[in-house]
Structures are given as structure tokens and as C-alpha cells.
């Protein structure tokens, strides 16, 4: 295969043509995937909401309240849920940056009286097989139906009531912090959330 000779002009022209074609292609694909990307993010949020909340028939995303947090850069999001017009509970996100590998973000679903309906882990980078077990049934089961007002969400060795994950005490602490943050936000904003927003 004979190589094409390199002159300044043809080098500039060829690289320009290639980068132009690449730029146009990427712009086109970006436009094409913009809507599906937003849909995928929304679908993920909705599936988490359905998982943690009691049955509801409104659109919790439209009633969202965002508040800043002192500890994390992320804001706390509160999603109110209604069933046949009456307040059915709320899903609240909580974050902690004290995980073994940084940020842990969870979503806690509360019933109107403050009891925990269910919890879902949204983001985490914990050690596979140790910290990641916080997503497991055996760990999350401890929180369901408990009211954080009377149920201390800290690990037993910190004076709480939760069995820490074996080999992942730091993860358990971060999880407790995130859950507590969610509960505090819920109690503080409960009255606003319970008001029908339409």
C-alpha cells in the first residue's frame, strides 16, 4: 500500500475534513439521544419512587420540594405522594459523603406518621460484597415499618438499634447519616408536603 505523501496543505485539509465530519456526527447523535436520555433518568426516578412509597395516584415529581443541605453539595429532594386526594406519605432523598468510597445517596419513603415504608439506594461506590450489602434485603428489612422518632438508626456499636453490615461499619454509619438527614427533612417539611398542591 503506497502511503500518500504529506504536504502541509493536504494534512490540514484531511484533518479538517475528519474533525468536521466527527463534529457533525456527534452533534446529530447528541440531538437524537437528548430526549431518550432525559426519559431514562425520569424512569429511574419513578421506579425508585414506586419502590419506596406506599401506593399513590398523583405525580410526585411535579410536587417536588428541594432544599439545600449543610453537609453535602447535593440538595435534598422531597416528593409528596397522594392517594385519592389524601396525603399518603413522601419520598425523601438523603446523602452522606462519609461512605467508605465517598458519596452515598438513598431515597427513603415515609408514611404520613413518619414510619419508614421502604428505602432504596440510589448511588454508592462501596466495596463490592461488603458495603454493597446495604442494598440487600437482610439489611434494609431492619428499617421497614420503624419510626425514626423512636428507632435509633445508628449501628448497635454506636448506641443505636441497627445491626451493622459485617465488615462495613463505615458504610453503615454513612447510611444512618443519610437516612437521618432524610427523616429530619421529612419532619421539618411534612406540613408543606401534606398540603394538596393543585
Amino acid at each position: 500500500m503506497k502511503k500518500k505523501e504529506s504536504t502541509l496543505v493536504n494534512m490540514v485539509v484531511v484533518l479538517f475534513a475528519i474533525t468536521l465530519a466527527a463534529g457533525l456526527t456527534l452533534g446529530f447523535v447528541n440531538d437524537l439521544t437528548l430526549a431518550p436520555k432525559a426519559r431514562a433518568r425520569l424512569a429511574k426516578k419513578l421506579s425508585a419512587l414506586q419502590h419506596v412509597l406506599p401506593p399513590f395516584d398523583n405525580d410526585p415529581v411535579s410536587g417536588i420540594i428541594r432544599i439545600g443541605t449543610p453537609t453535602a453539595k447535593d440538595s435534598i429532594e422531597l416528593y409528596p405522594a397522594f392517594q385519592e386526594g389524601s396525603f399518603a406519605g413522601a419520598a425523601v432523598t438523603g446523602v452522606s459523603e462519609k461512605g467508605y468510597s465517598g458519596l452515598i445517596k438513598i431515597m427513603v419513603g415515609f408514611q404520613p406518621d413518619g414510619r419508614i415504608n421502604n428505602i432504596e439506594v440510589l448511588e454508592q461506590k462501596e466495596t463490592p460484597g461488603l458495603g454493597t450489602k446495604m442494598k440487600g434485603e437482610a439489611f434494609l428489612r431492619q428499617f421497614r415499618g420503624k419510626n425514626p422518632e423512636t428507632f435509633d438508626m445508628r449501628a448497635k456499636k454506636d448506641g443505636g438499634a441497627v445491626d451493622a453490615l459485617a465488615g462495613a461499619t463505615i458504610t453503615t454509619r454513612a447510611f444512618a447519616e443519610a437516612a437521618q438527614q432524610a427523616y429530619d427533612a421529612f419532619t421539618e417539611h411534612k406540613d408543606t408536603l401534606a398540603k394538596p398542591h393543585n
Binding site: M1, T19, T25, V29, P36, K37, G129, G136, A138
Partner: protein, 201 residues
């Protein structure tokens, strides 16, 4: 007839004699980084296969127009574009896999397997041979990553393709999910693979 036989050899070399992972030890970053489960290995393999195929096709088509001195930058731009396309498409349509692979998707750009095939094969061969070469090399990469991912998942998590065959609280060899386990598993798989293919040849 001789032509089709050649293409068959061209395809098989990527899987056996010149397997990119087990024989040539190319693309070690994604190989060691993402293979904590069989599914991740398969997903990364398929993404790389796609980029390799597209870059081989384009490089083979434009090889006569590219001046020799700027061929590497030209190849890199082509590869990076396809990687970005893959990233956007995965985020839009397979968000689960996109989250699992994370930073390793953009890093496909620097997978030396892809630039290596563009420079050593596609820029010297015709379109059909380049496609077959990409498919063979890509298949070799997919098989190797899936095998490594499966090995690590079985030993480290007691499951295969997320299907668990041990109780939830059973203690598994977590070492194999962690980074050092990747090196150990890769080494033993490479020994095993080379033993096997040497006897075949």
C-alpha cells in the same frame, strides 16, 4: 475458495492465536477494571467490539486519502467520535449498563487494541478483511472479558450473570471482586488459555 479460507483464518486469529487479552495482553485497563461481573465484562466487550468494527471500517475506507504523517491523529479522532456515540447511546437506552461501566466507557478511546488494529491492519488492508479482522478481534475481546468476569463473579460473589447460587449471607472469596483478584484471575486464565491453544496448534 482460498479467499474465504483466508477470511476464516483472519477471523479465528483474533479469538485464538492472537487473542487480544490472553495472548497479546492488550487493553488491560478495561480488562482489569470492569470485569467484576460477567454482565459487565460482556457489556464492555460489546461496546469495544462496536467501536473497533466502526473504526476499522472508516479507517479502511479513507486510508488512501490520509497523509502518513497525520494518520495517528486522524485515527484517534475517528475512534473518539465512535466512543462518544457509544456513550450517548448507552446512557439513553441502556442506563443500567452505562452506570455500571462508568468512566471505562470514555476510556475505550485509549484502548490500544483499537488503535493497534487501525494502524496495523485496517490502514493496510481492504474493507472486507478489515471488517473480518475487527469481528474476530472483537469476539476474542468479548469472550475473554466475559470469561474473566464470570470467573470473578463465581468466585467472589457466588453468582453468574446476577443469578445467585449461594445464600445471601454466605461468605465468598471477595478478593476476586476487588482489584487484586482481577490480576490473579487474569493470570490463571491466560495460563490456561495458552496451554489449551498451544496443544491445538
Amino acid at each position: 475458495m482460498a479467499e474465504t479460507l483466508n477470511q476464516k483464518q483472519n477471523f479465528l486469529k483474533g479469538i485464538l492465536k492472537e487473542n487480544p487479552v490472553f495472548v497479546m495482553l492488550l487493553g488491560m485497563c478495561p480488562t482489569l477494571g470492569v470485569t467484576s461481573s460477567a454482565f459487565n465484562g460482556l457489556g464492555m466487550g460489546m461496546a469495544t467490539l462496536f467501536v473497533l468494527l466502526m473504526s476499522n471500517i472508516v479507517v479502511s475506507l479513507i486510508k488512501a486519502q490520509v497523509p502518513a504523517k497525520v494518520r495517528i491523529p486522524a485515527f484517534i479522532v475517528i475512534i473518539a467520535s465512535f466512543v462518544t456515540v457509544v456513550e450517548m447511546v448507552l446512557e439513553a437506552y441502556i442506563p443500567f449498563l452505562y452506570e455500571q461501566l462508568g468512566i471505562f466507557i470514555p476510556l475505550i478511546v485509549v484502548n490500544c487494541l483499537i488503535l493497534g488494529r487501525a494502524e496495523a491492519f485496517a490502514s493496510k488492508n481492504n474493507l472486507v478483511s478489515s471488517i473480518v479482522d475487527a469481528l474476530g478481534m472483537g469476539a476474542g475481546f468479548v469472550l475473554a472479558l466475559t470469561a474473566l468476569g464470570a470467573t470473578r463473579e463465581i468466585l467472589g460473589n457466588g453468582s453468574i450473570f446476577e443469578f445467585k447460587f449461594v445464600p445471601e449471607d454466605a461468605s465468598t472469596l471477595i478478593l476476586f471482586i476487588l482489584p487484586p483478584g482481577a490480576f490473579i484471575a487474569l493470570a490463571y486464565l491466560a495460563i490456561f488459555f495458552n496451554r489449551l491453544t498451544r496443544n491445538m496448534a
